[in-house]
């Protein structure tokens, strides 16, 4: 650091210029002078850069810089980001909450920027909605690009209804609403720039609120929904033509709920369902990656699995399953594009493995996991390999991973079967559970090494 300081200092001296025509930075020129020039580096940066730096801090921290020195006094008021959070003690203390409301209003007033990049608020219950609504009015009138509101309310406290102005914000690109907000949309929504929408555990005043909101977002690319049991909706209709990324998590319990997806250019789907969810997937033909996690795999998931047929990477995770009637599923829709398949199996259902192997002709990577939720359960199943070896084992499967290997008979059978038949297998990776004692691990390894391998290049990695 000292060297850099000196080098820098040198460059400032005019007579040094000629001496350093082709200066190589790595050579350090030491001077014996003991002058330590305290050059204020950060204050030399232009205001715009300092504001950029402060925009990565919370507004309170940015405000704290105003007492550093004269130059820093007004800088925080020109930072185009407002990021405020109240304290946990506000939950119980209403005077503190009121104070926070005043504080936010003051910050908004003092902030000089005509255009805000980000307005992020995390606070507890709202005592005076009119005050809070004013904030949104101000943010929207300042062309805010990102609005991120989290209200840690309790169920007993009334949820905040956003003023309608928020739904006609012309410049908003990101909208994230969490917890104590109620989505109440009555008129025509117009959000021409909105690309990212997160609705996490909020309440809805009706199903139509959501559909009106989606109808007004013409360039929406990313949608994240987290739904819970009493949020007043029974249908989730995700019919958005421009959607590329969709992540939905349902914690709706046993309540009947319908999920409709019509997203022709959807590329990434992350779905966590719950009991009682019905699927109606109209068009997800351009899906590239799908991560699906279900609690109870049953017949209602067949439309979902059908819809995943074009995907390249599929990860399927289930805890329990019931017998599924496959007759109308096989095999007229093949998983032609599937390159990587990850199955995390809970209590049984290993027949799915045979099914998938059969219909994915181009599978390259297979990852099998024993679902952690059902550890110790389903210790035995009657999995038997098919008579006809699946096409992918013969031609494309290169890598297999076994996670949570528990030294159970059917797992041995599987490994044996794969090793025996996979012609182009390059790597078989087996990870045992932590619980297995060392001696049995050694035994298992010996057994595995004994299996015949069809592919010569196959390596066995044991963990």
């Amino acid at each position: 650091m000292f060297d850099a300081l000196f080098t820098h200092f040198l460059l400032l001296l005019p007579m040094a210029n000629s001496a350093i025509q082709e200066i190589n930075v790595s050579s350090k020129i030491r001077r014996s002078s003991d002058e330590e020039v305290r050059i204020d580096g950060i204050s030399r940066l232009p205001d715009v850069l300092i504001q950029h730096i402060l925009s990565f801090l919370s507004t309170k921290e940015a405000m704290a810089t105003s007492i550093l020195s004269k130059r820093w006094l007004p800088v925080w008021t020109s930072v185009p980001v407002i990021d405020l959070q109240d304290s946990p003690s506000c939950r119980t203390d209403s005077s503190l909450r009121l104070r926070f409301e005043h504080f936010v209003t003051r910050v908004l007033i003092l902030n000089k920027m005509a255009c805000l990049d980000k307005f992020c608020l995390k606070f507890n219950m709202v005592d005076r909605p009119s005050c809070v609504e004013t904030w949104f009015w101000d943010a929207v009138s300042r062309d805010v690009k990102e609005l991120d509101i989290t209200i840690h309310g309790t169920q007993s406290f009334p949820f905040l209804k956003l003023p309608f102005i928020v739904f006609t914000a012309k410049t908003m690109q990101v909208l994230k609403l969490s917890n104590g907000v109620e989505l109440h949309v009555t008129g025509t929504v117009s959000l021409p720039c909105l690309k990212v929408l997160h609705l996490v555990w909020i309440k809805y005043s009706s199903n139509e609120s959501v559909s009106r909101l989606f109808a007004g977002c013409h360039v929406l690319q990313e949608l994240v929904l987290r739904k819970y049991v009493s949020d007043n909706t029974s249908i989730s209709d995700v019919s958005i033509q421009t959607l590329k990324i969709l992540s939905i998590r349902f914690a709706t319990g046993r309540r009947k709920h319908q999920l409709k997806i019509n997203a022709p250019i959807l590329e990434y789907l992350n779905l966590e369902d719950n009991l009682g969810l019905e699927f109606d997937l109209e068009d997800v033909s351009s899906l590239v990656e799908a991560n699906v996690s279900v609690t109870w795999l049953e017949n209602r998931h067949i439309p979902l699995l059908k819809a995943l047929c074009n995907a390249k990477f599929v990860s399927l995770h289930w805890d329990w399953h019931s017998k599924m009637t496959w007759h109308n599923f096989r095999p007229h829709r093949l998983f032609r594009n599937l390159v990587r398949l990850e199955l995390s199996v809970g209590y049984g259902g290993w027949n799915m493995l045979s099914l998938f192997l059969e219909i994915s002709d181009n599978l390259q990577v297979l990852v099998l996991t024993k679902n952690d939720n059902c550890r110790g359960l389903g210790l035995e199943c009657r999995w038997k390999p098919q008579k006809n070896v699946p096409e992918c084992l013969l031609s494309s499967l290169e890598r297999v991973e076994f996670k949570g290997y528990e030294e159970v008979a059917y797992q041995l059978r599987m490994v044996k079967y794969i090793l025996k038949n996979a012609r182009v297998l390059k790597m078989m990776d087996i990870c045992t559970n932590g619980d297995l004692p060392l001696e049995s691990k050694v035994d298992v390894l010996k057994k595995l090494l004994m299996f015949t391998r069809c592919s010569n290049a196959c390596q066995l990695r044991f963990n």
């Binding site: 650091m1 850099a4 300081l5 080098t7 820098h8 460059l11 210029n17 350093i20 025509q21 082709e22 200066i23 930075v25 305290r38 050059i39 204020d40 580096g41 950060i42 204050s43 030399r44 940066l45 232009p46 850069l49 730096i53 402060l54 925009s55 990565f56 801090l57 309170k60 921290e61 405000m63 704290a64 810089t65 105003s66 007492i67 550093l68 020195s69 004269k70 820093w72 006094l73 109240d86 304290s87 946990p88 506000c90 005077s95 503190l96 009121l98 104070r99 926070f100 005043h102 504080f103 209003t105 003051r106 908004l108 007033i109 609504e133 004013t134 009015w137 101000d138 009138s141 003023p163």
Partner: protein, 361 residues
């Protein structure tokens, strides 16, 4: 256009294995050549090459902005060299970035400046974030120490405490310290303006009386805290932690009531939820903040403007005249209510100040 440049460059680099280079000159005069793909990662250099055709030879080297010295240039070139390769995964890029910014803060500032002048936004973001992380969570003294900032704010300017919700203990401590210092300053001022102080004390006690009277009479003015109460008055209400004596609270409430009566008349027409809320905010701004110094945790009395004081004085006079006749009896009744209010305080000052007040008129 780039093809034309290529054609021009080719004969000159025949000795350099078909790799094209761009020539850059830093502010100190030293000239360097950099691989084309690497240099073109910087938008500013890219612009120079494509729009102006510069950089193809030593003679027409692109002169870089002054903020880019050779040390910074080499760092930037390292950065560009790694990131312009498309093959790296996101993880690799991230770990490279983390190692890259491990340098002292001074260099970090210079690098930010240099990257900004070359319009290399990813590097600007990276260094800015690193600097933000350095600033985060540190006390002002520590920050001044790290960045060698001059401590050039006057005591007064510093003593405008940061009015936050007091959940940040650091700021709370600062506020307490500054409050103490401020009190000292005020003490010194008080000695100078002794009379003004006394008058203020008088006002307060009179207004306490007022609240008594108003509360007892079921106030004819009908001043109840209305919903359109001005925020600043309520704020001062909350922040006055010094004397939580209920009398004072009532005094403030009445003040609020009076204020709201006055202000609601002005603001009443405008609705908060209406269109043009920003204009409302500006009105609020004008009313709440006469000056920026309103951030002070100052005495409430300071901020009552004169017109309001006069109004209060007038009202007090009215009541004084009305009650002057049966004052002792009223006093007995009030005392017998047995609230937490200190009757002694009132009888002493109330009578005295009331008399004084009417006399001063």
């Amino acid at each position: 256009m780039s093809e034309v440049n290529m054609a021009v460059i080719k004969p000159e680099i025949s000795s350099q294995m078909m790799k094209s280079y761009i020539w850059l000159q830093t502010a100190d005069g030293s000239i360097q050549q950099v691989e084309r793909e690497v240099a073109m990662f910087c938008p500013m250099i890219c612009h120079e090459v494509i729009q102006k055709g510069m950089g193809s030879s030593k003679n027409c080297a692109i002169s870089l902005p002054q903020r880019v010295n050779p040390a910074m240039l080499s760092l930037i070139i390292d950065y560009c060299q790694f990131h312009q390769v498309p093959g790296h995964s996101n993880k690799e890029r991230k770990s490279f970035d983390e190692k890259f910014i491990r340098m002292d803060t001074k260099r970090l500032c210079e690098l930010t400046s240099a990257a900004d002048s070359l319009q290399l936004k990813p590097l600007v973001d990276l260094t800015s974030r690193a600097l933000a992380r350095i600033i985060e969570g540190k006390s002002p003294e520590e920050i001044r120490e790290i960045f060698h900032l001059p401590d050039d704010l006057t005591e007064e300017e510093k003593l405008e405490p940061l009015k936050n919700t007091t959940d940040d203990p650091r700021i709370r401590l600062l506020n307490r310290l500054y409050a103490k210092k401020r009190k000292e300053l005020k003490e010194r001022q008080k000695i100078k303006n002794a009379e003004v102080e006394e008058e203020r004390v008088d006002d307060r006690s009179v207004d306490d009386l007022l609240s008594f009277i108003n509360g007892d009479n079921g106030d004819s003015k009908g001043i109840k805290t209305s919903k359109s109460k001005k925020k600043n008055r309520k704020r001062k209400d909350q922040q006055k932690s010094t004397s939580t004596n209920e009398t004072i609270k009532n005094h403030n409430k009445e003040l609020n009531g009076l204020n709201s009566v006055r202000c609601s008349a002005e603001v009443g027409q405008k609705s908060w939820a209406g269109v043009g809320a920003t204009s409302n905010l500006h009105d609020v701004e004008d009313d709440i903040f006469a000056s920026k110094n309103e951030l002070d945790d100052g005495d409430i009395d300071d901020e009552i403007d004169l017109a309001l004081k006069e109004k209060i004085d007038r009202e007090v006079e009215d009541f004084a005249r009305r009650l002057n006749s049966d004052w002792p009896e009223r006093m007995q009744e009030i005392l017998s209510f047995g609230h937490e209010r200190e009757p002694v305080h009132f009888s002493l000052n109330g009578n005295g100040s009331l008399r004084r007040y009417t006399n001063s008129e």
